[in-house]
Symmetry: C2
Subunit: 248 residues, 2 copies
Amino acid sequence: MRASVPISVNGLKTACSQCNLVELCLPFGMSDSDLDQLDELVGARRKVKRQQNLYRAGDPFEAIYAIRAGSFKTDVVLEDGRDQVTGFQMTGEILGLDGISTGTHSCNAVALEDSEVCVISYAKLEELSHKVEGLQLQFHKVMSREIVRDHGVMMLLGSMRAEERLAAFLLNMSQRFTARGFSAAEFHLRMTREEIGSYLGLKLETVSRAFSRFQEEGLIGVQQKHIRLLDTAGLRKLIQHQTAGGGR
Amino acid sequence: MRASVPISVNGLKTACSQCNLVELCLPFGMSDSDLDQLDELVGARRKVKRQQNLYRAGDPFEAIYAIRAGSFKTDVVLEDGRDQVTGFQMTGEILGLDGISTGTHSCNAVALEDSEVCVISYAKLEELSHKVEGLQLQFHKVMSREIVRDHGVMMLLGSMRAEERLAAFLLNMSQRFTARGFSAAEFHLRMTREEIGSYLGLKLETVSRAFSRFQEEGLIGVQQKHIRLLDTAGLRKLIQHQTAGGGR
DNA sequence: CGTATCCTTGATTCGCTTCAACATTAGTGG
DNA sequence: CCACTAATGTTGAAGCGAATCAAGGATACG
């Protein structure tokens, strides 16, 4: 089957069918023959250096991006200069979905380390979605997952206290590192305390204090950006077990 | 063109092509011939009484819903009972997108008043999206818009103070009422102070106090759920002009 | 090796929550 | 129609958690 489809496999081109991130990325759940077609879709790769923007709010929307290597943050900026980190993205995750709505990106995407993305032309994606069975569904799932994730962040920002937020953040990071084959208990954060704080709706000092407190209590080990989770059950309990029994 | 397509226009069935909400809803931007096809998609209407659930977290995902009349809230619930309103939806807006991701709804949708929705089978939507040019794009835009909206709420919850949040909420409601042909300056809120508070990450008392304060300052008139915006410019300034010059 | 960035910790302030009492409205049944 | 009750909204006083202000220390980077 696959051999019968004559695709020029350019060594420089990204091949989804060859990519080891397939299970985390857009192609997940697609058949082999679908995957071959997908290879056509993903045009170029693009390297983004640390601190550089992949795109900015206001940029015309042309493509979405799959992270091949590295990590990013996205943030929105208010007119008065206040900004809010809306998410941290890791390998296999999709960036740029915000642009579809108006044809213009509504947030900034900044690399947290030297990174590389696959550029997926949205026009081509639209076209291919009409043809390829599994692609449309998977793309919808990716968008829906983003919506569900955002709801989780709203819950976090709206109903949790500082230490609960940080615990939830750490458990989430751990889970995502695990999904990528890294240790669940030990990892390196690529973002600063200030960025974590912005994401969690806290000041950087509060984040720092919460880290220190977790360490005192033996829940985690902290050495700057290097984190060891020593008691994940304890962290989990911290989230559920708020002040005193019952609702908010 | 339209006459050549033999569609049985059942009086009881919803016809998107006839619906006066088209401009706010999924069919927006589609051609007349596309619209005729869409009429097939929208199966039944469903009435939902005040306080009743359209769906609950955990329900299997089968359809998305377009609000024909009335309004809803969506909320997510934590294991310990804390809950967070993630949004308020009005006529023409789409509910249920959260379910695509896992095939199971991740939040509750509750009618704020006696309401009616158009039930759109997701399986059929997927199928029709392959065929109908404009439908896929419009659906993607609806999902993307939801993501952008969620980012706005994150900004609100993460970086704004109580009165800024309420001002932003009121201006947003005003704008949405306007888009539906209602007065921009005078409207009736369907949700309680507690629900507003949950959405804005505040306690109901704080919401009530902020309402009172706005009234004292002549920004709005409040009579329970009936709101009059007297100084929208003032409300807008309140959002941008935080404590003292410069970013956070 | 020097400098800018990032992180930690303490003292104080401030905004929101909590607790509490009361007012108002809406809904119910006699 | 009105009395009764539950739900919702308002307002005050006190407490608490996170922000702010401030200083010093560790780390990464050129």
